[in-house]
Subunit: 210 residues, 2 copies
Amino acid sequence: MEFYDQVRSTLKHVSKHIAAVKINYPLLLSLGPDLTSQLLHETEVVAIADLKVADIDNTSKWIGRQAMEMGFDAVIAHPFVGYEKGLSGLISEVSTFEGGVILVVNMSHDGSKQFITPVAQELAAFAEAHGADGAIAPATRPDEVKQARKWLGPDVLLLTPGIGAQGGKPGDAISAGADYEIVGRAIYQSSNPADSAEEIKNQINKTLQT
Amino acid sequence: MEFYDQVRSTLKHVSKHIAAVKINYPLLLSLGPDLTSQLLHETEVVAIADLKVADIDNTSKWIGRQAMEMGFDAVIAHPFVGYEKGLSGLISEVSTFEGGVILVVNMSHDGSKQFITPVAQELAAFAEAHGADGAIAPATRPDEVKQARKWLGPDVLLLTPGIGAQGGKPGDAISAGADYEIVGRAIYQSSNPADSAEEIKNQINKTLQT
């Protein structure tokens, strides 16, 4: 089966168990922009462009425009690069398409403790100040999800990567205040992605009932 | 003229005045990976993938592999995401292709003063510690280029964006210790990119002679 058909089939089967799909650069570059756009239009799942935008205004603006034109609903960016003549370009451009901006308050891997954790509270303040629609915090460290929720207040959607391959347990981040848990390899590398997605969804729901 | 032909023509005419070409995501996504690869193979200019990689190991590894397979010689990444299970993936993957890794010590825009400048010295130490082939510092702030050169020592190539559209003056960054100055819009948006590139090159050389 062609790679595009594989991806579409996986997404189609998984879609009833997920709230949205997050597509990163490796997949975007493997498919190319045209097939990515086709995928988004054919599957009609809410789609987040996980481009970790971290560039100057002119470049971040173009990346935002391209993501919106491909059919993404929101874009993930790094507030670490700052606003003035930086993410300002992305934020204003995406808003003209009524798209969402999701800002990284902290990440799921060990290395994020080095430079990001020490300023995570300021990054959360940046997200609030610039009207972010969502924020990213690590499902691998539920205590930091709890902190992020406190810093952000109740209105910013809190999305938490790191479930599965990276070690986060389904349900822990949502119990700590997240709105959504992000699962990558534990679904798409599974021999049956739909079953894995359903099982993880059920684990999350079970945690919430206890 | 088709977009690809425009890009190839510009690069071909400019190539004798430049040391390398830096290609960012907006251009990569406009061309798509296949035409980007074709461009690099047809023009044989040293090519830097300005992907500002800022992701976890598995993702950064794949981005590095894809850039190398397209024919890029080096990739730009953000050390602020940290090494462990972060840029570790990119750095080890790119080295298997004998490609270069260029790390951002600081950026050229105002917003970079917010979170990056306070840790620029640590980001430079990261670049040294992990064997970066090159580093990025802002041509728009030559004093910070001077600092970066001091922190990095003489062996790391220092590349400095921000000449032209962003306000940096040709020659200032190299006078402050940079190896190369990066020029974007002042060349590619010029009515005659080759003439503009030559003029900027001459301005740099003139500064160095005084």
